[in-house]
Subunit: 97 residues, 2 copies
DNA sequence: ATTTTTAGTTTGTTTTTCAAACTAGTTTGC
DNA sequence: GCAAACTAGTTTGAAAAACAAACTAAAAAT
């Protein structure tokens, strides 16, 4: 079947996580606050979904400091980039675009 | 923001419902059993999601008979087609494809 | 006539999503 | 210098969604 939903990665497909991945695919690393802005998510929600993406191995959260303030930099991993490319392929097929 | 996840219709975006809508966009009406086959969903799951799509006004379930057996034909509504087109637009933008 | 198959729906559990509340430290205003 | 407000997140509990097992109901097959 050409339009198989089986090939859609559910970790990436979730609405907020999709936004994060799409953004990271063009800009990585990105700070937590910047992701907050572009996704318009709440802190808690973003935090949870980043954890999920990290557990899946698609991103890495680098905990550091910017001056004296803590700052988390979110990196797209190689695995994440591969998964993203696969996701795009699957969606193109499914959506016929 | 160009890649806003806000524009992604959540009713359509759900994995199984996305499969249903994608299929219906190229073939409507379609019988319940055929949808079962192409989506590889369980009956209960498909039934639930069709109800959700119908409540949203995106499909219509025509309950009729094929010979003596009951047969549900699932139609994409005009509203459903519009929503699908919007969804495609939003995804193209988001995925940059 | 009993078993199997078709065509679904209902229901209860599991998973996911979400945002309010919380922690911890920093900067700013008085 | 200290109280208030802000930054940067995490934890947690409630609500929603997903899922499949169990059920209903009728037809077809044996």
């Amino acid at each position: 079947m050409s339009a198989s939903i089986k090939n859609i990665n559910d970790i990436i497909h979730g609405r907020l996580r999709l936004g994060v991945m799409a953004y990271l695919s063009t800009a990585s690393p990105v700070s937590f606050p910047e992701l907050l802005k572009v996704t318009e998510a709440t802190n808690g929600n973003l935090s949870t979904h980043l954890t999920k993406l990290e557990t899946a191995g698609f991103i890495h959260q680098e905990k550091g400091y910017k001056g004296k303030r803590p700052q988390t930099l979110v990196h797209l991993t190689d695995e994440g980039r591969s998964a993203w490319i696969e996701y795009l392929k699957a969606m193109r097929l499914m959506l016929d675009i």
